[in-house]
């Protein structure tokens, strides 16, 4: 597993596009992903996807946008 943070911007996209984006990105197996989304539906759906892949998700809200930090503990 790579020890880098992958940054993703899904603002302006509506579902299922942000989920498709995180799905593609997670194929590279980074330890941490950070994605910014601009609506609660994307926040919920991307959270579900990341959790399904075994990532721990924390969400920070700032000015109507959400920054999702998704981390997998190294096994």
């Amino acid at each position: 597993m790579k020890n880098t943070i992958k940054q993703l911007d899904a603002r302006g996209l509506s579902c299922p596009e942000p989920v498709i984006m995180i799905r593609k990105a997670m194929m590279s197996q980074e330890k941490t992903y950070e994605m910014v989304v601009d609506n609660p539906v994307s926040r919920e759906n991307v959270t579900r996807y990341a959790q399904h892949q075994g990532y721990l998700v924390t969400v920070k809200e700032q000015e109507g946008e959400y920054v999702l930090t998704m981390t997998k503990s190294a096994l």
């Binding site: 509506s14 579902c15 299922p16 989920v19 919920e44 991307v46 399904h52």
Partner: protein, 360 residues
């Protein structure tokens, strides 16, 4: 047929997922003066599937309209699904459709053959019901839209509203859930062709056969499960009936493939709107998974009927429904194959602390 531009790419929301949320609708209609007419026995103040106007002692007119952007790429299939969905509101009132008008919006550059295929799909379903298309209206717009305005008839004393469920009734759902989730995941090309074919068959299946069976039983209340999802429509039924509805999660039929896709977050925005609308009235008891809850809020396109009838008649009604090869997924052996069929999914009680209970 294949069109040069995928139809679903022209649409922001899929099918009934485009429906404006129930909460928003209530707000939009707030403060409007309701005109009273003693012959109008179901109006828009009732949040029902169609309006009903009594013509004489034997006949009431049932009217409804429904339309949405493409949910599939094949224009013929899209026409069929949109028509089956619009006709369903007549069946859920216990009526029979007789006349229909096309409602059509097309982008200026849309191929003529695609437009004809949409209309041909609609005609095929309308004629299957025994009704006729008498005209319509077409405009240009950025997103394709198709649907129908339908008129039908029902004897006034046989009208089935969504607000007459009674304590002691049980609830039958005639088509499995998961359409919104599966069509959302289909946009990511994560749904197998065989599953897509199954849900297409389900969405083009008219609720006519289910209606023809249910009217032979002492049904108290009925609605079709569409844009507001199972919990949204059940919530309306519970509230309108002044009862509590208890749904049993383990009994609710859904397409098995949608479960993992729900866990993966392929959930349409409409499901979240439905949750926002109904959640305050829903009490979840026991260990119901998040994915199952998502499935219960999932907006359905051309979904099944939710039928409330006395417990004593429920098994006989269910047996007849599941003997119908045209129901559910259009597979007579659906249940034998482990595929979802019509099922008894809950029961009705006197009002309790919540309008709707979802229990394990």
């Amino acid at each position: 047929m294949e069109t040069a531009v995928k139809l679903t790419k022209l649409a922001k929301c899929a099918g009934c997922g485009a429906k404006v949320g129930a909460g928003t609708l209530v707000k939009m209609l707030e403060g409007f003066q309701t005109h009273y007419d003693p012959r109008l026995i179901v109006g828009y103040d009732k949040s029902d599937d169609a309006s009903v106007y009594v013509l004489d002692k034997d006949t009431a007119l049932v009217q409804t309209t429904d339309f949405f952007p493409p949910i599939v790429d094949d224009p013929f299939l899209y026409g069929q699904i949109a028509a089956a969905n619009a006709l369903s509101d007549i069946y859920s009132m216990g009526g029979e459709p007789k006349l229909a008008l096309n409602i059509l919006c097309i982008p200026e550059d849309m191929e003529q053959t695609a437009v004809q295929e949409i209309l041909r799909g609609g005609y095929s379903k309308v004629y299957e019901t025994g009704a006729i298309i008498t005209g319509g209206h077409t405009i240009h717009g950025a997103e394709p839209i198709y649907g129908l305005a339908v008129s039908g008839f029902v004897p006034p004393d046989r009208v089935l509203t969504n607000s007459n469920a009674r304590p002691g009734d049980v609830l039958i759902l005639t088509k499995p859930l998961g359409i919104g989730i599966l069509t959302t995941a289909a946009k990511a090309e994560l749904v197998e062709t065989s599953v897509l074919e199954r849900i297409y068959r389900q969405m083009t299946t008219l609720n006519k056969a289910a209606r023809d069976i249910m009217v032979r039983f002492s049904v108290h209340s009925c609605t079709d499960i569409t844009g507001f999802g199972l919990l949204g429509h059940s919530f309306e039924m519970a509230q309108g009936s002044g009862c509590s509805i208890h749904l049993q999660a383990d009994r609710i039929p859904f397409h098995p493939e949608c479960y993992e896709l729900a866990e993966m977050g392929f959930i349409p925005a409409g499901a979240y709107r439905n949750r926002e609308y109904a959640a305050s009235g829903v009490k979840v008891l026991g260990d119901v998974s998040r994915a199952m809850l998502d499935i219960c809020y999932d907006p359905q396109t051309s979904g099944g009927l939710l039928i409330a009838l006395p417990k004593e008649e429920a098994d006989a009604c269910l047996a007849e429904l599941n003997a119908q090869s045209t129901l559910t997924c259009g597979l007579p052996v659906a249940a034998a194959d482990g595929l979802p069929a019509a099922a008894i999914i809950g029961y009705v009680t006197e009002p309790q602390e919540a309008a709707l209970f979802l229990q394990k």
